[in-house]
C-alpha cells in the first residue's frame, strides 16, 4: 500500500511536469507576441 502510494507521487509528478512545460511554452508564445506588437508600434511611430 505504501509502495503504491509512493508510486502515485511519480504519476502526479509526471502529469504536473507535462502541464508545466505546455503552460511555460504557451506563455512564451504570448509574451513573444506582445513584444512583437510593441516593436511594430514603435517602428510605425518612427
Amino acid at each position: 500500500m505504501n509502495g503504491a502510494a509512493n508510486n502515485n507521487a511519480y504519476l502526479y509528478a509526471a502529469y504536473i511536469v507535462v502541464w508545466v512545460i505546455h503552460c511555460v511554452y504557451a506563455f512564451s508564445l504570448i509574451s513573444r507576441s506582445k513584444r512583437m506588437k510593441r516593436e511594430t508600434r514603435e517602428l510605425n511611430r518612427r
Binding site: A14, Y25, L29
Partner: protein, 232 residues
Amino acid sequence: MKTLFNALAVFTALLLGYGFCQAMYVAPTEATMGDVQRIFYYHLPSAWVAFLLFFVNFLASVWYLVRRTIGADALALASAEVGVSFCTIVLITGPIWARPIWGIWWTWDARLTSTLVLWLIYVSYLVLRHYATGGQVPVLAAALGIFGFLDVPIVYMAIRWFRTQHPQPVIGGGQGSGLDPTMWHAVLWNLAAFSMLALMFVWVRYRQALAEHALEEAHAQASLDYETEGAQ
C-alpha cells in the same frame, strides 16, 4: 481567422480534458505496474507528436531548399520548436516512470540514447536559428533539419533492432504485444488532444516567424531610409 482559432482552442481544451479523464479514471489499472503506468498515456502520444513535428520540419526544410520560400522556413522553425517541447516531455516523463518500475532514472540503452540524441539535434537547430546571423542561416538550418530527421527512424526502430531496457512496441511488436482496448482509447484520445495542441502552437509560432521576418525587413528598410536621409 480569429474565430476559427478561438473555436479550435476551445475544442483542444475539451479534448485535453477528456483525454485526461480517460487516462486517469477510465483506463484500467495495469496489473503489474499499478497506477504509475498511467504516465504512458502522456508519454507515448507526446513521442508520436514529436516525431510528427520533426517530420513536418523535414518536409518544410526540403521545401525551403527547393523553393526558398519564407513560409517553408517559418513552418520548419515552428515545427522544430514545438517538437522540442514535446520531445522534452518524453525525456522527462520517461525517467519519472522508469524510477519506480526499473529502480533507475536512466540507462544508456539504444532507445533512450537515440531519443536524447534526437532532442540534442533539434535543440542545436534552435540554437543555430536563434544565435547565428547572416543570410545562410535558414539554409544551414534546413540541412540540419533534413539530416537530423534521420534519427527519428532510428529512435522508432531501436527497440526492434536492439535488446533494450525500454518496453517492446505496442504496435507491431509481435506475439504478446498490444494493449487492452480501453487503454487504446486513452492513448488515442490523448494523441488527438496533443496533436490539436501541437497544431495550435505551430499555428501561432508560424505566424510569429512570418511577422518576425517582416519586422526584420521593416527595421532594415527604416535603417536604410535613415542613412539615405543623413547622406542628403
